[in-house]
Amino acid sequence: MSEIGATTKKFQKELNAGTSSLVLLGVLSRSPEPMYGYQIAKMLEESGPDIPMMKQGTLYPVLRSLEENRLLESMVEPSVSGPPRRYYKITEDGRAALAEWLEIWKQTKKFVDATLKG
């Protein structure tokens, strides 16, 4: 049982590796204002399924790598209490990438669904 559980967990993780970039870009493209990590995590939690798809901690390294590829930009703003927050905003490159990724996602979804239906 635990064997299957571990494999399932691994499958979920590998799936998330690709989709989390897409989800984050999507969220930030729709947000009129820059958002910080906790805000994004909270939003995903509320709009997501009952079973959380991914740990919130995994979002941060993805945000960072998106920024490194210039799809996002960020700035640090002090907060009233606690450490400063890093606010992320989508760039023009990010929007262009999102449009392409969405197309790939649609194709992939269609392909997988069609294959599974047989």
Binding site: Y38, Q56, G57, Y60, P61, G82, P84
Partner: protein
């Protein structure tokens, strides 16, 4: 399981101990930001919940230190390393001349130029800051001044880190490590003063002045000598000037030596580019050792 955020951060550091120190510092900064924000949100809604209970649930959602550590490692592995060498010539000769195609060599050269300017600024800042803070300590506002100065040193260290990573390709922290939040400012000052990292950063700022000056002088010297060698044929055949002047008499080099001068100047610069690339890597390691707290 974790009673405070600090405990979680320690566990996270432990789980990442084989990773790059700069990556650990980034992961800790992210976790600190998230956990503090989440804790604040819980406290606003339900003030009666204890910190340990609230943290339990928050960390459940954030992920265990091991899970978080593996997420960072995973993404770092997929992210292309900065300034990866674009071509990999095999032969020694290819490696020697391939330096012109190596972004690390050009980056190192640019860094050395910039180090001259930043070095002067760091040195001035450090000396002014230290002397002002120390001499004003007899007055009451010397203490806040010292605190501000030490914080600025931390900030500058981060900026220097970004510069080193961009130009020398050595992974440096991308987030400041805020380990003193929630403290009173006197305690904060004490923590900064007793932290070895602060003093290493200060020493780095002073040393950078010396290194920056040396880099600059060497670059300018080698560049002028190389260019002067290559200019000899032009000087003699286009402007009809002898290249050497002795006792008010100009001497010219024979025409057959022209290719040698050009080749010599070119070789000199190529050798220097190779050296600059090596020095850049060394400087990157030095900066990491001085600026990234273990």
């Amino acid at each position: 399981m974790f009673r405070t955020i600090e405990e979680y951060l320690d566990a996270l550091k432990n789980a990442m101990k084989d990773a790059d120190p700069a990556l650990i510092q980034d992961a800790q900064a992210d976790a600190r930001e998230h956990l503090t924000n989440a804790l604040e949100a819980v406290r606003e809604k339900t003030p009666e919940v204890s910190e340990a209970d609230a943290l339990g649930k928050i960390i459940e959602e954030y992920g265990s230190p091991e899970e978080t550590a593996s997420a960072y490692r995973e993404v770092e592995r997929r992210t292309s390393p900065v300034l990866k060498q674009t071509v990999k010539p095999q032969t020694a000769l290819g490696r020697f001349f391939g330096v012109y195609l190596d972004p690390r060599a050009w980056g190192a050269l640019l860094y050395m130029f910039i180090a001259f300017i930043t070095g002067i600024f760091y040195f001035t800042w450090a000396v002014t800051g230290v002397s002002l803070s120390v001499s004003l300590l007899i007055l009451i506002f010397g203490l806040p001044l010292a605190l501000l100065f030490l914080l600025s040193v931390r900030g500058l260290a981060l900026v220097e880190g970004r510069l080193v990573e961009a130009l020398l390709g050595v992974r440096m922290p991308r987030r400041p490590l805020f380990s003193h939040q929630g403290m009173k400012w006197m305690d904060r000052l004490k923590a900064l003063l007793t932290d070895k990292a602060t003093w290493l950063m200060l020493v780095y700022m002073v040393v950078q002045f010396v290194l920056g000056t040396i880099y600059f002088v060497v670059i300018v010297t080698v560049l002028s000598v190389s260019l002067a060698f290559m200019a000899i044929p032009v000087l003699q055949s286009v402007f009809h000037q002898g290249a050497v002047m002795m006792n008010n008499v100009r001497y010219s080099f024979p025409v057959w030596t022209y290719p040698l001068w050009i080749l010599g100047g070119f070789l000199l610069w190529t050798i220097f580019m190779n050296i600059a690339r090596g020095v850049g890597q060394l400087h990157g390691r030095f900066a990491k050792w001085m600026l990234v707290s273990e």
